[in-house]
Symmetry: C2
Subunit: 285 residues, 2 copies
């Protein structure tokens, strides 16, 4: 193991995901510190033993003793933070993140970063439709997918360290994708699904809907409760990939619509058979 219990881990940004990292890592014995924007966040995290120490300022001492730094910030805030405070990093520190888009973040950060620290990007595919450290829960990672997103600049050691963090947090499957592959994949599996949930809820203003829906509508709209600032930023930063996925979805949906209009039962059944077979693969795991 590259990561050992004497490592100091600093979490920058203590929301739902940052807080869940802190909780999971502290539980297994790491010294975990955090930098957050609001004093209430730090107070809550200290009181509930989610972190060992914390600050609302980019405290040079706290930053300087961290062996591993996990960034859980909005993409533009993440870049600004590195630009402003990277002089405080300990030489040899490894940085990682949880950002939902990669191409527009990873290269910029690696290009501006000091030579004696390394940034290895990662994306934990887990979340909840609630926010804040108060809802932090390390169990959201158990069995979930984790994507490591290295570039040519990354060393095998940093990639391995990133894998170890995922193993320690009990993620289920750990994969590796390039930044471009990641963004296309996330445009499909995450951003497109959020677009669909938002759209479904925008289709009807019937306040009694809740009395008529079944689990299918509930499931498809759970993620319609959405942090508009974060997701709007993520959509815009991944615009080209997301538009491609939205257009592909529109074409497929229109094809099903036209089959229904033409009463083409065979065409519809064929799509249903494909969806059944492909979705069945998910449940084997």
């Amino acid at each position: 193991m590259l990561v050992n219990r004497s490592c100091n881990i600093l979490i920058v940004g203590l929301g739902l995901i940052g807080g869940s990292y802190a909780k999971g890592l502290k539980k297994i014995g790491f010294n975990v510190s955090a930098i957050a924007r609001r004093q209430e966040t730090i107070d809550y995290a200290l009181e509930h033993e989610i972190i060992d120490e914390g600050s609302i300022k980019p405290n040079p001492e706290l930053i300087g003793k961290a062996d591993i730094v996990v960034f859980a910030l909005y993409p533009h805030v993440f870049k600004e933070w590195i630009g402003s405070y990277q002089q405080f990093f300990k030489p040899g520190a490894v940085l990682t993140d949880v950002t939902g888009v990669k191409s527009c973040v990873v290269y910029d950060i690696q290009n501006m970063l000091r030579d004696d620290v390394e940034f290895i990007a990662a994306h934990p595919m887990a979340g909840k439709e609630v926010y804040g450290v108060e809802n932090a829960d390390e169990k959201i990672f158990y069995g979930a997918n984790y994507i490591i997103v290295p570039t040519d600049k990354n060393t095998p050691e940093a990639i391995e360290l990133c894998r170890e963090i995922a193993l320690l947090l009990q993620f289920g499957s750990i994969s590796t994708l390039s930044p471009e592959e990641h963004d296309q994949m996330i445009g499909f599996v995450s951003q497109l699904t959020h677009c669909i949930a938002i759209t479904l809820m925008n289709c009807s203003d019937n306040e009694k809907l809740v009395d008529y829906v079944g689990d299918s509508f509930r499931d498809l709209t759970r993620i319609a409760r959405i942090n508009e600032n974060m997701w709007c930023e993520l959509f815009l930063l991944n615009k080209e990939s997301l538009l491609k996925e939205m257009d592909k979805f529109l074409d497929e949906f229109k094809s099903l619509r036209d089959e229904l209009a033409a009463e083409d039962a065979d065409g519809m059944k064929e799509k249903m058979k494909i969806s059944t077979a492909r979705r069945a693969l998910f449940d084997k795991k």
Copy 2:
């Protein structure tokens, strides 16, 4: 109560939903019989004490002693069944059903039915992505929505009896809609969501998808495992309503797509705020 424990209840069609009705009703003390197509189904249901007696034939004696008959058949089979065997009903029997479409079923059945029995339509908004009596589970109804679908021909007594069945099975919310309102609503909350799930799975043939998805994609595609014969029939029988809902969804989705293309952050955020506020109403219950 109009329904009492000495009522004989006959279930016609012993799949997932029919079987779950049988299980729930037998558990609370009713004498429950069933007619199913396959002997294995009857044998399984008898062995597992889901029913008291059963037959693969439309046994006149079994039909003739039922005070309440619940039909859990494909729509076209349901109509054929009534046409062929209604002479066996006990005078005064109340018939109900679980069919997912109403306009194309309810009026036809009520028009062909003997004057001394009454059909009151209902739709339990519950299900699972598995089939057959082996998966029957009365708990799928607990807290779920139940829609009663009366017409001018129904008596207050039959409507009340239908309500009581829903209460006994522990449904959460019980509503009343006309057949036309029901079909439009179901086109939206149930059929449209299945169209979306099918389409999502048809968008990608990547067999490694399972390693990249988060809960959002899992949730949006759970219902993509679908019985193509049943759902194709339901879609075609509700074609006009479903097409209307598909077109409304397409317009809304395209509007979000165009806002993204134009980088209209305010427009996207407005939709996200609406979806968040509307979806939050679901979680108060």
